[in-house]
């Protein structure tokens, strides 16, 4: 399987704060990779590094085999759809939901060109796919949290991306809305043969096609492996410092035979499994 994203020994810092430390990761074409970890682990920074919004301090990144250079990255961006965790839109902004989704096409259209009939058709199709067609004339700032997420996904999909990056797409949503968003992501993944990277701090929100999970802690990738290995209760309890009862409440299987490790036994950033 060819490699969509190759991250080698990447570190990112904001002033004196290290956000990512010596991270290496390969994401294959067509893969659905989940990234989980507690707040401040570096999950969002990892996503922003992949789509070129974050600046790397050391290391290198290759997307579709091409080295990523900051000055030229905007040419690659149309091939990478990005759904940010939160988008602050002025509630009185003079822009409709339809226009806010059409913006997703602008990178593909290129400079000095106007949106074509095809661009408008694609926008309408993605509004229908995400169940937001009825909102098309509503001001973009006048929608609910769940609707805003669906519009953000529509905007990313209308780019016709090859890679879709999702930053906590189900956070702060009620269970029904979170389920809606998850099924939408799965449908888009299957229908458009995407490579998906989904960040979540709620592992139970990672959908079925997500068969590989990277676990982040203290700015490093602590574990990358198959879903069933990653979502074992003892591993999650080490990651999140949660109790067995809390894991059971989320529906994760307990494996009491495995010796429990505590985070005290795990030096910051040390890989749990190579």
């Amino acid at each position: 399987m060819s490699c969509a994203v190759s991250i080698k020994r990447v570190s990112v810092s904001y002033r004196d704060h290290i956000a990512l430390r010596d991270v290496s990761l390969e994401i294959h074409n067509g893969e659905f990779l989940g990234i989980i970890g507690p707040n401040g682990a570096g999950k969002t920074t990892l996503l922003t590094v992949i789509n070129g919004l974050g600046r790397i301090h050391t290391g290198s990144i290759h997307i579709f085999g091409q080295p990523v250079l900051p000055a030229k990255f905007w040419r690659l961006r149309p091939r990478i759809g990005y759904v940010p965790q939160q988008l602050n839109v002025d509630p009185r902004a003079p822009i409709s939901c339809y226009e806010s989704v059409l913006i997703g096409r602008y990178g593909r259209i290129g400079l000095l060109s106007r949106p074509s009939k095809y661009d408008r058709q694609q926008t309408e199709e993605m509004l229908r796919l995400t169940g937001t067609f009825h909102l098309r004339n509503r001001p973009a700032g006048q929608v609910s949290g769940g609707e805003a997420r669906k519009l953000a996904i529509a905007r990313a999909l209308v780019q016709e991306p090859e890679i879709l990056l999702l930053d906590e797409p189900t956070s702060n949503l009620d269970p029904a809305a979170a389920r809606d968003i998850t099924s939408l992501i799965v449908e888009a993944y299957r229908r458009f043969h995407l490579t998906v990277v989904m960040v979540s701090h709620q592992p139970e929100h990672l959908p079925e096609p997500c068969n590989r999970i990277a676990m982040m802690k203290n700015t490093r990738i602590a574990f990358v492996g198959p879903r069933e290995q990653a979502l074992r209760a003892e591993r999650l309890s080490l990651l999140y410092k949660t109790t067995g009862a809390e894991q059971s409440a989320c529906g994760f299987e307990q494996t009491p035979a495995t010796p429990q490790r505590t985070s005290a036994q795990l030096p910051p950033g040390e890989p749990w499994q190579k």
């Binding site: 919004l53 913006i103 400079l111 106007r114 780019q159």
Partner: protein, 290 residues
């Protein structure tokens, strides 16, 4: 016949102020939309003071104040982005710092000027009635460049005004577009320094687009209304100034503020539901969970 001759001579006398009102007002109306939607109204103040400092520097160095004010505006607009990013500051904070530097430079320049400071003070208040042919040409040129940029980069501008992070993420060269918006805003302010004045231009940049913002949900309509309000403020202000012999710049700003007040009252964005719609009603079947 005498009436026609009177109108003709009035038009001959007033064509420059009228042209300055139309072209200068239109430029302020357009760049004001950018400033209001990017929520950086302080940019207007900063740019107007940069233009003022530049003009004072021009008087001091014996070069055309219009050219030096353009140079200062361009420099200030190019500084805002890097200062914000490199010092990790909020845009408002970096604008405040650049504003204070420009204000300091302007007052230092005024202090160093020899002889009467009438010319420098005129830049604070402006005088649309004394606008020259060259200044009108500069206003026409500025408006043409701004409108051409907007027409060529309409979608990129819209994306940046909507959300800079999204614009960058979808593959638009967001930073150059953002810097261009700052640059053209600075150019529009510098070009209007002689007509409206360094202190008052800020209101003409903010009031008309803020009034337009209250009245529409469409960006194109906002541009149109903002331009109409800005031109209207200038023309009405000019007329009142001529009729009652009062300072034109001040009247223009008062008119634009009145337009904003009226638009606030009429704003569909602030309309509330009638009280009867909010009266208690029984739960419908699909609202019940018991």
């Amino acid at each position: 016949m005498a009436e026609v001759t009177g109108i003709a001579s009035a038009l001959t006398l007033f064509w420059r102020p009228l042209a300055a009102a139309v072209f200068g007002g239109a430029a302020c109306g357009v760049v004001g939309v950018w400033i209001v939607l990017m929520n950086i109204p302080f940019l207007g103040v900063t740019m107007s003071h940069a233009a003022f400092a530049g003009a004072v520097a021009g008087l001091l160095l014996g070069i055309n104040p219009l050219i030096s004010s353009f140079i200062f505006c361009v420099t200030a607009s190019l500084l805002i982005g890097p200062v914000t990013e490199s010092a990790d500051l909020e845009p408002g904070v970096s604008l405040g710092i650049i504003f204070s530097v420009m204000l300091g430079l302007a007052f230092l320049g005024i202090g160093l000027l020899k002889g009467p400071r009438t010319e420098a003070l005129r830049l604070i208040w402006g005088n649309i009635l004394l606008v020259t042919r060259t200044q009108v040409l500069v206003l026409v040129l500025t408006l043409t460049v701004i409108l051409s940029f907007l027409a060529l980069f309409w979608k990129e501008t819209k994306a940046v005004l909507f959300n800079r992070e999204i614009a960058r993420a979808v593959g638009i060269p967001e930073r150059p577009v953002f810097l261009a918006l700052l640059l053209f805003a600075g150019a529009a302010i510098a070009a209007n320094l002689d007509t409206i004045g360094g202190l008052l231009i800020f209101s003409l940049i903010v009031n008309p687009p803020s009034a337009a913002y209250q009245l529409t949900w469409r960006l194109s309509t906002m541009y149109l209304l903002s331009t109409v309000f800005a031109i209207g403020s200038c023309l009405v202000g000019l007329g009142i100034s001529w009729l009652f012999d009062v300072p034109a710049g001040a009247v223009i700003i008062i008119i634009s503020s009145l337009i904003f007040a009226v638009s606030l009252l009429l704003s569909p964005k602030r309309r509330r539901l009638p009280v009867e719609d909010l009266e208690p009603r029984a739960l419908s079947d699909n609202q019940r969970i018991d």
